[in-house]
Symmetry: C2
Subunit: 239 residues, 2 copies
C-alpha cells in the first residue's frame, strides 16, 4: 500500500452520538440478560435474524481475521440432541457442588435449548487466515476472543429486538461437534438459545437466586498497578 | 431459595426499545473501530470513565462470576514500559511475515499506547469463586470469555462517548504482568488504549490497508449443520 492522503470518505459520516443515542446503548447494556426460561415459540423473521448476524459479523477481530461461523439451528431434532448432551453434562456438574450449593444448583433453570425456537452456534476457525496471524504472534488465543466479541455483539443486538439470548456452556464441545457436524479442528465458542420472550428479568437470575452477589464495581478498579490505588481517588468516588 | 411468586419488580420496567433506540445500538456496533492513530491528549473525565467501567462490569459472566479487574493506567512511565514491550514483540512479529506481507506489516500503525491518555488492562481471576464454577464444569475457559465480553461492552460504551479504544495484543502477557504488577496466577485479557479521538475511520484500517478483505456474511452462515444449507434459503437472501 502506498502512503495516501486522507479523503473525507475515509472518515465516518454521522459519527456523533446524541445523548438519547448514548442512553439507548447503556440501556441495552444494562438490560441485557442471560435468558433461560422466558422463551416464546414465536418465529424470528429472517430479516431480524439477519440483523443479529450482521451485528455479530461486525465484531472486532484480531488482524481482521473474522474467524467465526454461525450455525443457525432450526431443526427440533438437532436441538433435542443438544439438550440431551446438556442434561448429561448438567447431571455431572450438579454432583460437583456440595450440600446446600448442590440443592440450589439443581433448582436453577440453566437453558432453553428446546423452548427457544432457534439456536445459534458460533465457532472459531483457528487457521482461517494461515499459520501466522497479525496480533496472534504473542497472544495465540486472540482469535477465540474475537469470536466471543461476536457473541456479545449479537447478544446486545438481540436485546434491542426484544429477543432473549442464553449462552449454554454446560455441554461438552465434542457433543456439540457431534450434534452439529462440526469438524474436530474447529473450536465451538458458544451455543446460544435465541427467541422472543415474555419478559426480561430486572436482575440476573443467579443474583436473585442467591448464587453469588453482584460485586461492587469499586472492588475491582485499580490505578496504574494491580490492586493498587490511593484513597480517596476521584475516579473511585464516581463508581 | 424457595420457589417464589413473580413480583412486578422482578420484571424490567422500560423494557421496550423504540426504533430510534434500536438504531442507536446498531450505529454503535457498526461505527466501533479499533483505534491506533487518532488519539487526542484530552483527559477523560472521571464521570465518563466510570460509565465505561460500569458498562464493562455489566457484561455477562459465567455463573455470575464477574472474574474481571480493571487497571486504569494513567502513569506515563508505566505506559512507556508497556510500549517498549510492544516494540520488542512487534519487531519479532514483523519477522514472522514474508516478503510483501512483511513490508505491509511494517507500515501499519498498530498501537496508541503512549498517544492515548490512559490505558485500561482487563484481567481474569480464574479462581475468584472457588475451585468449581457454575458453567465452567465442562468449558473451563468460560471465565476468560466473560472477561472478553466486558472488553466488548467497554468498547461499545466508549464509542457513544466519542472515545476511541484500541486493543493491543502484540505484547507478551508476562511483560504486561511485569509493567502492571499483575500476579502470575492472574490472566491478562486485554490492554486497551483509551482516549478521545480526532475522528473515527469509516472502515477498519486493516481492510483499507489491503491486509484482509471483509468476508461476505453469507459465506459464514449455515443452517442446522456445519457448512450445510439449502440454496436458496430465505435467511441467506436477507444477509
Amino acid at each position: 500500500m502506498k502512503e495516501k492522503t486522507m479523503k473525507s470518505s475515509d472518515i465516518q459520516a454521522d459519527a456523533e452520538f446524541s445523548a438519547a443515542e448514548r442512553d439507548a446503548v447503556y440501556k441495552c447494556i444494562f438490560n441485557r440478560r442471560d435468558v433461560r426460561g422466558q422463551f416464546l415459540p414465536t418465529p424470528i423473521p429472517d430479516s431480524v435474524l439477519a440483523r443479529l448476524l450482521r451485528a455479530a459479523h461486525h465484531a472486532p477481530s484480531v488482524g481482521f481475521m473474522q474467524p467465526w461461523d454461525f450455525i443457525v439451528v432450526r431443526d427440533a431434532a438437532i436441538r433435542q440432541k443438544v439438550r440431551d448432551s446438556f442434561e448429561a453434562a448438567n447431571e455431572e456438574a450438579a454432583g460437583m457442588f456440595l450440600d446446600e450449593k448442590q440443592k440450589t444448583y439443581r433448582r436453577l433453570k440453566l437453558e432453553g435449548i428446546v423452548d427457544a425456537p432457534i439456536g445459534i452456534c458460533i465457532t472459531c476457525d483457528r487457521s482461517r487466515t494461515g499459520a501466522v496471524g497479525l496480533g496472534r504472534t504473542h497472544q495465540a488465543d486472540m482469535d477465540l476472543y474475537s469470536a466471543v466479541c461476536a457473541v456479545q455483539n449479537l447478544w446486545l443486538a438481540a436485546r434491542v429486538e426484544q429477543i432473549g439470548v442464553g449462552w449454554v456452556s454446560i455441554i461438552r464441545h465434542d457433543d456439540l461437534r457431534g450434534a452439529l457436524g462440526i469438524p474436530a479442528e474447529i473450536q465451538p465458542i458458544a451455543y446460544l438459545c435465541v427467541g422472543y420472550v415474555t419478559h426480561f428479568l430486572a436482575k440476573p437470575e443467579l443474583e436473585t437466586a442467591g448464587w453469588l452477589p453482584r460485586t461492587p464495581l469499586s472492588d475491582v478498579v485499580w490505578i496504574d498497578r494491580w490492586h493498587a490505588r490511593d484513597t480517596p481517588d476521584p475516579l473511585l468516588e464516581c463508581l
